[in-house]
Point group: C2
Chain length 260, copies 2
DNA sequence: GAATAAATCTCGGCG
DNA sequence: CGCCGAGGTTTATTC
């Protein structure tokens, strides 16, 4: 189930929704009449009122009022949430170890609530960065590996653009994803998604692969990779090549929209 | 209508919901497959993916992914939003003048969308602040006015706690609201709400007022007050008394939960 | 883990 | 409008 939406649910229905939402690692959204208590790096209280509550699968917890960009109360990623029913009210608790802090939301009435599994493989790309790295690799394809030949740039798939598409020395297709900073797990998920899209969609490359018995390789190119990403990488048979971004990367440049 | 909730709406239904939500000054929440472009203090693009979008009536605009407490893209308060339909996709635009910046969200598919008018009269109360001011006034009630006598602290009403309840020299009831910083319009709304709650609910104070033909006065106590607040204050017949918070306010103190 | 630096920092206050 | 300072800053990087 991709999402679930409840209008005017009672406390128990909401409890079940939150509980299953947390287990599914979904994003939970609630509009409710509530009261908030925070104890940790500071101590604060927010009396009864109607707010928007968001629980994210990374352990973030947000309570938004109808003003401001920042939440009025929150808990950072990696916090642990749980729900419980006390005296016919719903209590949402979020804890963190270091520093020790606790957020407690008491809910009296829920207007609507939902959980949703968001498919999102994209990271925000600030202008200029990946672009510079791509330029460098198009210019010097041997940086990636001996005999690599780029065939397309920003190749469109259903879920976004493959940074560089190319062939290796044996004629296998290579799907290259560039990151100018240490690659995280999302970069690997992104390549995995592209490989899937690529294999599911008919295209000239795919015909060639099938007819000539060639492989499709996934290759992540970044200055470094973190532990989580490395694990998934090996699990998925995706490769990694350490490449530092060009040095002028950090220089201030005038960027305009036309680079897209 | 307090809120409206649409499941799996088409682009035009969503457009109508957003349009009326903005006019009603409601908070709008959307879960959708979208793409984001930002141009302003920086330049960024976020390719297609499923995200949570929130538009607030103060002009804030948030795009949340399923990680982090900060939005991946946003626009600050006082931005101007509008929706339009282009080639069967829904476009949400948000502009700001100084600095000039623009956020553009292109939406292809909406899973669910809502607007909601949140009743919320409370501001976050950080421990120690109002408390210190209250202590000072309980100790020296003449600071507020000659002959003022506190009768209750944190007096409970339906919509929160009245900071100090007391009597003036003529025996009229005084509802006192404390702010340790410059009071805004919300402080006045809060007193107005308390006065209403107080008058609607039976209690001993109210009986006394009725039997002895006394008045109920609203009094805002803060170091200063802004123009908006002053206007509403006079309109509502609520009074204001300038009082600076105690100087030790900023000192680090050990605070515990029992102060609430 | 702690320490450090950047951020479309945000938010409030004051001139 | 601007600058300045604080924040439960958050976030990523380095050690």
């Amino acid at each position: 189930m991709k999402y679930k939406l409840l209008e005017n649910p009672d406390i128990e229905e909401t409890y079940d929704l939150i509980d299953s939402g947390i287990r599914k690692k979904a994003v939970i959204n609630i509009f409710a009449y509530c009261k908030v208590l925070y104890e940790g790096r500071a101590l604060s209280q927010l009396d009864w009122g109607e707010r928007f509550i968001m629980l994210k699968p990374d352990g973030s917890f947000l309570v938004h009022q109808e003003r401001k960009i920042d939440p009025v109360n929150w808990q950072p990623p990696k916090s642990r949430h749980r729900a419980l029913i006390k005296e016919n009210n719903l209590i949402l608790e979020s804890h963190r170890r270091t520093p020790k802090e606790k957020l407690e939301v008491e809910i009296e009435k829920v207007h609507f609530a939902s959980f949703a599994l968001a498919e999102d493989y994209q990271e925000l790309e600030l202008a200029g960065y990946e672009k510079d790295m791509g330029d460098m690799i198009i210019k010097h394809p041997n940086m990636i590996e001996q005999g690599f030949t780029p065939t397309a740039r920003e190749y469109n798939t259903e879920h976004g653009f493959i940074d560089i598409l190319g062939k290796d020395i044996e004629g296998n297709i290579v799907v290259v994803e560039l990151k100018c900073r240490k690659a995280g797990i999302n970069a690997v998920k992104q390549i995995r998604r592209y490989l899937k899209d690529f294999e599911e969609n008919d295209n000239d490359y795919l015909k060639e692969v099938k007819s000539k018995k060639k492989k499709i390789r996934g290759l992540l190119v970044a200055p470094d990779i973190n532990e989580d990403a490395k694990e998934l990488l090996e699990e998925e048979g995706i490769e990694f090549k350490a490449v530092d971004p060009p040095k002028e990367l950090r220089s201030d440049k005038k960027v305009t929209l036309d680079i897209f």
